[in-house]
């Protein structure tokens, strides 16, 4: 069985001929044009493109934060493109975890409480303290975001995302607000978690260096997939340089 055949049977999320157009006053801006992607269960891939390439819009569509103008998105065979807001909320709650560039932690909650807010609404959460231990913050659980470094905050964000035990983890510019060394440490964490939990992980980044840690890389340019490549030997996070 080819990789493609294997991926077909194992498809978690499928995008077919997806377009997304935004109306800016009198002007229509077609941000995504005819994008088709499959994401398999347990897959670790990255989407790379320059600013304005449509990668963030694509992330929004995959994550159920937005709906396509045309085309279909299906998750485990269920169509998402015409889902109601309530259905999309359920999808985000039960199936998706987000990690944002600027962490997006709640300032008035401690690290443990930030993870708790995600765990509380999940139907199959992981243990909060275990997850915080997995990201190496067992001794910082009662600290507030303002008392944590950037790297620690991002690790809390990762913990919050995986505490819901999602099938799909979406990371938007994961290391964008971090320095080089911290960014690599967070990347290492993500790689280890993906291997341990078997979650499908998508990294969205403009940084081509980061894409080297994933096996599959989708290149975006001007709203289209310009190229799709496979890393036969993904690099370890410690080895990459940017």
């Amino acid at each position: 069985m080819s990789d493609n055949d294997g991926r077909q049977d194992n498809v978690l999320l499928r995008l077919e001929h997806v377009c997304r157009t935004f109306q800016m006053g009198d002007v229509s801006v077609e941000v995504l044009k005819d994008v088709s992607i499959d994401i398999a269960k347990g897959e670790f891939l990255s989407m790379v493109g320059p600013s304005g390439s449509g990668k963030t819009t694509l992330l929004n569509l995959i994550g159920g934060l937005d709906r396509p103008t045309s085309g279909t998105i299906s998750y485990k065979g269920r169509e998402l493109s015409n889902a109601s807001p309530a259905e999309l909320t359920r999808y985000r709650r039960d199936e998706v975890g987000f990690v944002f560039q600027f962490y997006n932690l709640v300032p008035n909650l401690t690290a443990r409480e930030n993870v708790m807010v995600a765990a509380e609404i999940s139907s199959k959460p992981l243990d909060v303290d275990r997850v915080l231990g997995m990201v190496g913050l067992a001794d910082r659980v009662d600290h507030f975001p303002s008392q944590l470094s950037g790297g620690e905050q991002q690790r809390v964000a990762v913990a919050r995302a995986i505490a819901k035990n999602p099938e799909l983890l979406l990371c938007d510019e994961l290391t964008g607000a971090l320095d080089f060394e911290t960014g690599k440490r967070v990347l290492r964490l993500l790689v280890d978690l993906q291997a341990e939990l078997g979650t499908s992980v998508v990294i969205i980044t403009h940084n081509h260096a980061l894409a080297q840690v994933t096996r599959r890389v989708i290149h975006l340019r001007s709203g289209r997939i310009s190229e799709e490549s496979i890393n036969d030997s993904p690099m370890a996070p410690e080895e990459i340089v940017w």
């Binding site: 935004f22 941000v31 304005g52 449509g54 963030t56 819009t57 992330l59 929004n60 994550g63 934060l65 937005d66 309530a86 909320t89 359920r90 985000r92 709650r93 039960d94 998706v96 987000f98 944002f100 560039q101 600027f102 997006n104 709640v106 300032p107 008035n108 909650l109 409480e113 708790m116 807010v117 995600a118 509380e120 609404i121 999940s122 600290h143 507030f144 975001p145 303002s146 008392q147 919050r160 819901k164 938007d172």
Partner: protein, 791 residues
């Protein structure tokens, strides 16, 4: 260019600014309405008194020859006097079964600028064509469809007289026209009849005499009339002085002046509450706006704009709220004053009580609202405005984190879910915003609570007085003191189940240097139709001898149980008598005294005296009609009062107007709650957009996110409302305390559970209503933009 930015900023924050402007508008509405009404009434009073040449004093005597009045005129300080004859009478109208009381007052034959002049509404002054011409008080005439040219029958001096109506009129002496024993004007049962001087002399056997002297004082003694009146009493002593009443104690003037004074007081207090709340809320908003534009402020300063230019840009935002709120408040305030004036026209009879437009009031209203908004804006924005250009352009340093004091209670804290912890931390960390919200909620709840307590107090007083103390169906007052026969005769009247005598002794109480005019009510030992009660509602047992004084009277006289005081009767033989103070009782009725009727009669050297009878009826309407007919034709009867009519009148007028008052109070309170909550929540929402968007991304639905904000809102507003309950109670206690010098009543403070529950329920309702706006904004929020994940 900055002004263009200003307009855009105003448009963007229009909703929030409108909420604050509405609070300011309510405050200014109250200020303008109350101040304008104050001026309407006080200027109408001044004009009316001037026009009618309102007297400065009234002296009631038994009978004084006109020839002896020069001694009064020559008292230093007396500018002019006018004698007149005044008696009460009974009006006989076919269509009325109940007896109607009238006060008959003589007027000069020709109208030559008399004192206490009348203002004709219909018809003419006396024409001289008939001796029995009468001018009837206008409200009475309208109530009974009486017009010039009609005849009316009146019992005068035990004789049924036919009087010819030549006109109807009003008088400054009766702006608030109260009949005997009444507390509200009742034109259906009481009117004033003005007759010619000579006719009065003839009918009442007062040839060349008078029983009332009205007069004016010289300007220099007008404010200190008492010494002059004391002199006049001494001069008139041989002719039996009953009362010497200065203008300030004249019944109509007392009610009118008290109402005007009350308006003046609350015109300051009520608007202040709203304006302080508005300033606080505006402070919160401007703090947020300034912080959000921190980088802009820094950039403007870097470009070369001065602190004043940048600062005035923010002050203009606040000022525009003040102007909008002030203008709206002035317009609504004027309309409200028109409405209030219409209400006052129902109670006070003026020739022309009109609602005026006072530009000074409106100008000061707008000035106050601008000042209030400038204060709020300046205090809100100053911390950012003080920053240097470089520091302002740097992003704001993150807030310090850390546990709040509540987290020390680990067990309790551990029981709370993350959303509740979030709500508590948000409330406690944002001290200014939370304090402003709690203050607004406390003021809103305090206003509600005070209003409800006021109504409760009035209902309580009515219940106390008319169901617990006074329990008769009909009260009869005689013209003169009568004996036991009068009681026996009253008991035999149709429909009477039970008759009780009363002896009302008008007198001056004297205890050493302390004196007070008043009266003692003598009650039968087994009285059940008047049961004096203390403030706890307990019946006050009537001692066989001695007086029971109300607390107020005892305080005035500095008297205690066991003391002997002197009673100087105003009528009859006028021989002073010594009486022992048997008991002092707390009472809601100001200056009262009771005694056993037999004891009181003996004090007056009589075996048994009655000045009136209280009746309990059998309830048969036919008997009641017969009773009234008979009383109407009884010359000895001065007045007849039906308790049921009095209760109905009070309930209809007083309590109905209370509902309007309560309705306004709830509306104003709602504006305070609504404006404060919406402003605070929207500022909160604006600051936490990314947090909201993150929760959405996590899978929280918008209602659940809304509930987080609702928790914070409830924490602030329920706490504030709970704090407002003692504020409301305290305000009511202060109001009741202000009545401590009032001789008529002591205002009760009657807290009850429903008041507090109703206040809290309304506070909750307003909170949920305001939250609906927040929820709507959460629903329409562009969370992609907030997440910073838009292309």
């Amino acid at each position: 260019m900055l002004d263009r930015k200003l307009l855009r900023d105003l448009r963007r924050s229009a909703g929030l600014l409108a909420a604050i402007a509405s609070i300011i508008a309510v405050g200014i509405t109250c200020y303008v309405a109350l101040t304008s009404s104050y001026r309407n009434l006080s200027e109408a009073k001044a004009r009316y008194y001037r026009k009618c040449r309102m007297a400065d004093f009234w002296i009631d005597v038994k009978k004084v020859p006109l020839a002896e009045l020069s001694a009064v005129s020559s008292i230093p300080g007396v500018a002019e006097i006018q004698p007149r004859i005044q008696f009460s009478a009974t009006v006989d109208l076919e269509e009325n079964q109940e007896p109607i009381t009238a006060m008959v007052i003589s007027l000069p034959e020709s109208r030559d600028t008399p004192l206490n002049d009348i203002v004709l509404r219909q018809g003419d002054y006396f024409t001289g064509r008939r001796a029995e011409e009468v001018i009837v008080s206008d409200s009475f005439a309208r109530k009974h469809n009486l017009y010039p040219g009609q005849w009316v029958h009146v019992l005068l001096n035990n004789r049924r007289q036919r009087l010819f109506i030549v006109g109807t009129a009003i008088s400054s002496e009766f702006v608030y026209m109260l009949g005997p024993g009444a507390i509200l004007p009742d034109p259906e049962h009481f009117g004033v009849f003005y007759v010619r001087q000579r006719f009065a002399e003839e009918v009442f056997d007062f040839h060349g005499a008078a029983n009332q002297i009205v007069g004016r004082l010289a300007p220099e003694v007008r404010d200190q009339p008492d010494p002059v009146l004391e002199q006049a009493e001494i001069v008139l002593e041989p002719y039996g002085v009953f009362h010497a009443t200065p203008q300030r104690l004249q019944m109509s003037n007392q009610f009118l002046s008290s109402e005007i004074e009350g308006l003046g007081n609350i015109a300051l207090i009520v608007p202040t509450v709203f304006l302080v709340v508005a300033a606080l809320v505006l402070n919160v908003l401007m703090t947020r706006l300034a912080r959000r534009q921190r980088t802009t402020i820094g950039t403007l300063k870097a470009l070369g704009f001065t602190n004043w230019q940048v600062g005035s840009h923010f002050l203009k935002q606040g000022m525009s709220v003040g102007i909008i709120g002030g203008v709206a408040g002035c317009a609504l305030g004027y309309l409200s004053s028109v409405g209030m004036t219409l209400v006052y026209q129902r109670f006070f009879e003026f020739p022309n009580l009109a609602s005026g437009f006072y530009w000074q009031t409106h100008a000061s209203g707008i000035a106050i609202s601008i000042l209030c908004s400038l204060a709020g804006s300046y205090l809100g924005a100053r911390s950012v405005l003080r920053l240097g250009a470089a520091e302002a352009m740097r992003p704001e340093p993150p807030r310090r984190g850390g546990a709040i004091w509540l987290e020390r209670f680990k067990r309790l804290w551990g029981m709370l879910s993350a959303p509740w912890r979030l709500a508590l931390r948000t409330v406690i960390r944002h001290k200014l915003r939370s304090s402003a919200g709690m203050f607004a909620a406390a003021m809103g709840a305090g206003l509600l609570c005070t209003g409800f307590l006021m109504r409760q107090g009035q209902v309580f007083l009515i219940d106390f007085q008319f169901y617990k103390v006074a329990r008769s169906d009909v009260d009869i007052v005689f013209h003169d003191e009568l004996g036991r026969d009068a009681l026996d005769e009253a008991a035999r009247l149709p429909g009477v189940d039970w008759a009780e005598p009363q002896f009302g002794l008008a007198c001056t109480f004297v205890n050493g240097p302390y004196r007070r005019k008043g009266g003692v009510t003598g009650l039968a030992p087994d009285a059940r139709l008047t049961i004096p009660r203390d403030t706890k509602g307990r019946p006050i047992p009537m001692p066989a001898s001695g007086l029971v004084l109300s607390r107020r009277l005892a305080d005035i006289l500095h008297a205690e149980p066991g003391d002997t005081i002197t009673l100087e009767p105003i009528v009859g033989e006028r021989r002073p008598a010594q009486a022992t103070v048997a008991q002092v009782a707390d009472s809601y009725l100001g200056v009262t005294a009771y005694a056993d009727i037999h004891y009181l009669s003996r004090l007056m050297n009589e075996e048994f005296v009655t000045t009136g009878v209280q009746l309990a009826l059998d309830g048969d309407p036919k008997h009641q009609a017969q009773l009234y007919r008979q009383l109407r034709d009884t010359p000895a009867v001065a007045s007849v009062t039906a308790r049921h009519d009095l209760i109905e009148q009070i309930t209809d007028t007083l309590l109905k107007h209370q509902f309007i008052f309560i309705g306004l109070l709830i509306t104003f309170s709602g504006v305070v709650f609504f404006g404060s909550i919406v402003n605070s929540s929207m500022v909160n929402l604006a600051e936490r957009q990314r947090e909201v968007a993150t929760f959405l991304a996590l899978g929280y639905d918008k209602w659940r996110i809304g509930n987080m904000f609702l928790r914070e809102s409830l924490l602030i507003n329920v706490t504030g409302a709970l704090l407002g309950l003692p504020v409301g109670y305290g305000l009511m206690v202060v109001t009741a305390w202000s009545y401590r010098e009032n001789d008529l009543i002591r205002f009760p403070v009657v807290p009850s559970a429903w008041i507090y529950l109703a206040t809290l329920a309304l506070a909750l309702a307003f909170t949920f209503m305001a939250h609906a706006v927040v929820q709507w904004n959460i629903h329409r929020m562009n969370y992609l933009e907030a997440l910073n994940v838009k292309e």
